[in-house]
Assembly symmetry: D2
Homo-oligomer: 388 residues x 4
């Protein structure tokens, strides 16, 4: 059995790290940063292993060989990058470019939505056919973060959505085209970025109707996860949070895109929403900034200043300076999600998967709850799925 | 019904904050920093309220009126300290001074162990008699942190202990005298400091035999709790901790005592032990420092630098600068413990109380485990105790 | 001899702290945070003492008694605030409200420029008349930070400026009205905020023509000063700065005004300009953010992350978390400036005063240079002025 | 003309970085981190260039080829380490091992002092002879940090010292043997470590008598330099320092040696002494810790928490987290010193060189003063020396 993973934005830092790091590391124990790896290995026997994954994808940029791209990023250790001369990966063209990424796509023409859907569906079929063994396919969205979408569009039902595609509605985004095409081809779909794709009623309905798992949105790699565990502790100790200031500095392409105000809006929103459900109240100041700062490269740094009150309302505070590596933290989460979504596909469990909420900044299953609760939900579901 | 709380070291910063803050704040909602307050209030109806507590205690120093002491500490807000002219509290004398606190006690003579036991027992009876209503008494140890104790002493059985008291064995510590006296008088006993008292077999056996609850050791107020929640998250995400450097700066008397190497030893040990059971491995560097730094006063600041590895063994790190207020964080935990121990007394559940482990740096119930597990144990037991 | 100090924005945090802290602290040694106080006292005998200062001012808000305002701010210690029942200070009305502060001024009508000038001049005369001794007057601008001003306006000569006043040109700002009125009345003028006032050619020319000292702009209290000293050290050690990320969080009214994008622009610019002249190159990334974060109040916190390269181009970094108190740091600088400007008035040294550059984020004398050079310039000029 | 640089402890991290980084980097512009490089290049024409340096040295350990050692340290970038197959350097044996390094030297026998002196002198002659051109030799002490030395020994005059050598006095240290041998052979001597060597009267007298320059002690690379510049700023702004807590974590051999209490003592003392002369007062709390923390390796991290008072005695604070690379910061300073000491040798300026004070934690020329003053002294002397 094989898992075909098709990644939108395959030449981006995280996607490329997943592809090259997995391909060149398959013989290593790639457990670092994986939530699945922390569970009882006996529960995981029903889940596919990383060796069963094949990668392909789409990208606006030229890219060239994946290993060359990886060397430019300089994210994986040189001991890994030196293990091969090339990592050839199918990059299907053209990549989808709807109006939401217009200014990022440069001179690329924006094709008719219907044609783009057809192209993506053809690519998915093509890649599956090229597989030597029976396979299932999963599409992972790792392309540029999107912009905010109108409520109107969020409310589209399946019929509205079809009409929008056919009439080439300019509000159709790249994410929607990938997701719609994936579901139409019987694929699971994961949105690891902050787009509105999976909040569109039409796509959620479609996933449920077709019993296809969907998971999103916006992978949670560092600051937000810390917020959720520390927030949980503050709540359990009745230490009242008065304010939480968070700033992020990052120098990769993700940071560059987010330095455009309209693209930052949705990301910042995702980062804002975590605290209220974790703390259980909303009377505190919450500021979240993301700034493009070139010297940091892919090494995302976040700094949080938290003010809280204790006994007799006395004020205290703490600060956290988190120096993560964005793609190194994201890659094992992407692999976890692929394995988990694959298992859901086998079990024909469609729609959102609440046990995957722990992976996201804006979990669309049951929504934000304390980290330990989400971890428990994952553990219990994995256990159940291993007995099925 | 009344709870008589007798505190060893009643003029210390934490004890005095508990006494004055509770006395002058009974009419306020003193929930900040309380773990109990985060639970469902309906489960707490069987637990005594703070209004039912009366305080007395022992101290080496002169002290004077508790409010005067509090004003010197300047820990509670002036809006509270200004609410009364005095907070008279019984300070029984002499306080116990065994050989472990010799150099702290100054010129005070060290009395025969047997006489000290008798004195403490008399004080406990005296205070209970002065109560207008039926009452139970609890002794809380909040005096100076002790030194390391010989394995020999830890292994004493009840008979050995009696002999040691009678023969005035110099290895008898102040903590042991308070605990032994408390249990002899039918009181619960809480050790909120890093002493070896509750690890002495004789005293544990005695508590079980007499069905008296004991709880300890070393209240967990800041850095250690953070370690336990963040350590839990690191484990759940398979982020391998390579090293954890912790330093603490504090300028109160606690800090001064801990600046003596022999007294620091046991405290540092307590702070060291948390990570291994939480992380589930021990191949990492762990450094814990405590330094006396006068400008900080009671505002304990801790700084942690944590190094960890993720996917493909890539190195990352984070730092936490925690600016707590030692006594403000400790006070509500002491009050929680008093209420919880009282309920255990009512239920005649003797010995260590595993559901209280969350309160301690070195939990003597079931030992260290992830914060969320300990929180759950507390929640479940409180629920059970509220239905009893 | 008396110094009449008239402050625009007298009810703001810094101005009020200056007025109340000086009035109630005149008998104390108010040297903390003063640069002048670090110089040889013998050089200062020709400079006026703080006792010789009398305060008055203007403000949009109602204010009431200065001590009441100070109690609301809660910036000065309660031991000082409790020393008197009231600190009555003349607040002249109406305050100037030109178009640049329209949205801050609320419902206040915007009067004709000419009338506003007349009003301010009358107030200055009035206050001088009320003095019992011969006096000189200085106007200090401490009102809301302004917006960016057109190049056109910067280039106005004295004639253009007169025409603009007479024709009620909407580009006239509050700062210009105060400065023009001050100079017309023979006063020195200090701009402690980030406005374009003193960069208008007409006003600079006027100050030189009339031999009146002017000083600005934008008092340097924390982060910028640190940048200048650390930047100087980096340069002297040939440690190449690759990037400097600075964020500021502040919860006072200054922060609120700066949270409006148009008002932040000029402030951020002032904070940006310091590094290039200090380092001597411009090929580095420099990001400066200011965010309104209510829990901080007047306690401005700034966090800097600095990346640099050393031998063999190896990368290193450091971070600084500065927890200052904005008004407490600013007040002694304002007093220093008043004393220094007064001395320049006595010596009839008009125009910008290069030795005052050390006090400003955007020094308009000789411009940014390393801190130690600016300190030396101050020292030398004070020495010269004490022998005059 | 050639400069023979003989390094005691040539296989240590800093020495090896100097040797390999210089040898493989001569064709690069190695200015990063050099103080000399920040001066006017025209003043430096009289100073030797780095190309003129040849290296040899002594070490207790085996070492092997210098490039192999460098690869183990992994301090220089791989782009540099890959430029050659070997960097052969003369390592003379045996290295000096006096009683002060007994427990570090392992099983090595401790030879007679007189024989050790003879050995070192022979090595120096041997290396000079092997030079193709006329040369001068400089000995740099970079071996293990020493222990505190008795006042008695510090007071030895030249006669006492001779007697001590001849009688094999056990208080003779390795540093003394190297220095005495160097001076006897007409070499300049630099102590880049915290030993008492250059504070021994006999050796200072000898250097002056022989007109040989000596420089020390304890190279200042990170935290201490920051302290001196920031301390200077605090003083110039009359911001009163109430306390300065400094902790250092380092995982290289230097850190390991310093984790021995007796060796840490002298280093900590050097780090303590900087603040008092810079601030001009001593009524503040100063704590300095150095801890061995393996994950840091050669990347020394220091964290400082500084408390200060401003106007009306209001309390403020800041924290600095400095992440330097010990050897990368030290190497260019060592090279600067070699070039500067060489020039002093040419000018026959013996004894301590006040203009070199800026390079040291405990400057033995004129002692600690503000960074900008020391920088000025360097600049002026270099200027003078370039005109000689």
């Amino acid at each position: 059995m094989t898992i075909n993973v098709l990644i939108a934005g395959i030449n981006g830092a995280t996607a490329n790290t997943v592809v090259v790091g997995t391909t060149l590391g398959v013989d290593r124990e790639l457990t670092g940063g994986s939530i699945l790896a922390s569970l009882d290995p006996e529960q995981l026997t029903q889940f596919p292993s990383i060796e069963e994954i094949r990668f392909a994808g789409w990208d606006i940029g030229d890219g060239g060989d994946a290993l060359d791209v990886a060397k430019k990023y300089d994210i994986l250790p040189s001991s890994v990058l030196g293990r091969a001369d090339a990592v050839p990966v199918n990059v299907y063209r053209p990549a989808v470019t709807a109006h939401d990424v217009e200014e990022l796509a440069g001179a690329l023409p924006i094709l008719e939505a219907q044609d783009q859907v057809q192209g993506v569906r053809d690519n998915i079929k093509q890649f599956a056919t090229a597989s030597n063994s029976p396979s299932k396919s999963i599409v992972v969205y790792l392309a540029a973060p999107g912009k905010v979408v109108d409520q109107d569009v969020l409310d589209w039902n399946e019929g509205d959505f079809e009409v929008a595609i056919k009439s080439n509605d300019p509000r159709i985004t790249s994410g929607m085209i990938y997701c719609y095409s994936a579901l139409s081809e019987g694929c699971g779909f994961i949105d690891f970025t902050p787009t509105a794709t999976l909040e569109i009623r039409a796509l959620r309905d479609m996933a449920e109707r077709l019993r296809l798992p969907i998971a999103g949105r916006d992978g949670s790699t560092g600051q937000t996860l810390l917020k959720s565990v520390i927030g949980e502790m503050m709540r359990n100790r009745s230490l009242k949070v008065d304010g939480w200031y968070s700033t992020n500095i990052i120098g990769n392409n993700d940071g560059l895109v987010l330095s455009r105000r309209d693209h930052a809006e949705i990301k910042t929103a995702d980062k804002m929403d975590v605290l209220i459900p974790v703390l259980g109240y909303d009377d505190f100041d919450h500021v979240v900034d993301i700034r493009y700062y070139r010297p940091r490269g892919d090494n995302k740094e976040s700094w949080d200043a938290v003010d809280f009150s204790g006994w007799h309302n006395q004020k205290m505070s703490f600060r956290i300076d988190w120096m993560g590596r964005d793609s190194i933290l994201a890659a094992p989460l992407v692999l976890d999600l692929v394995r988990l979504v694959y298992r859901s596909m086998e079990l024909e469990r469609g729609g959102f998967q609440a046990h995957l909420d722990i992976y996201f900044k804006r979990p669309l299953g049951k929504g934000w709850r304390p980290f330990s609760h989400m971890y428990n939900d994952l553990k219990e579901q994995v256990k159940a799925d291993s007995m099925n």
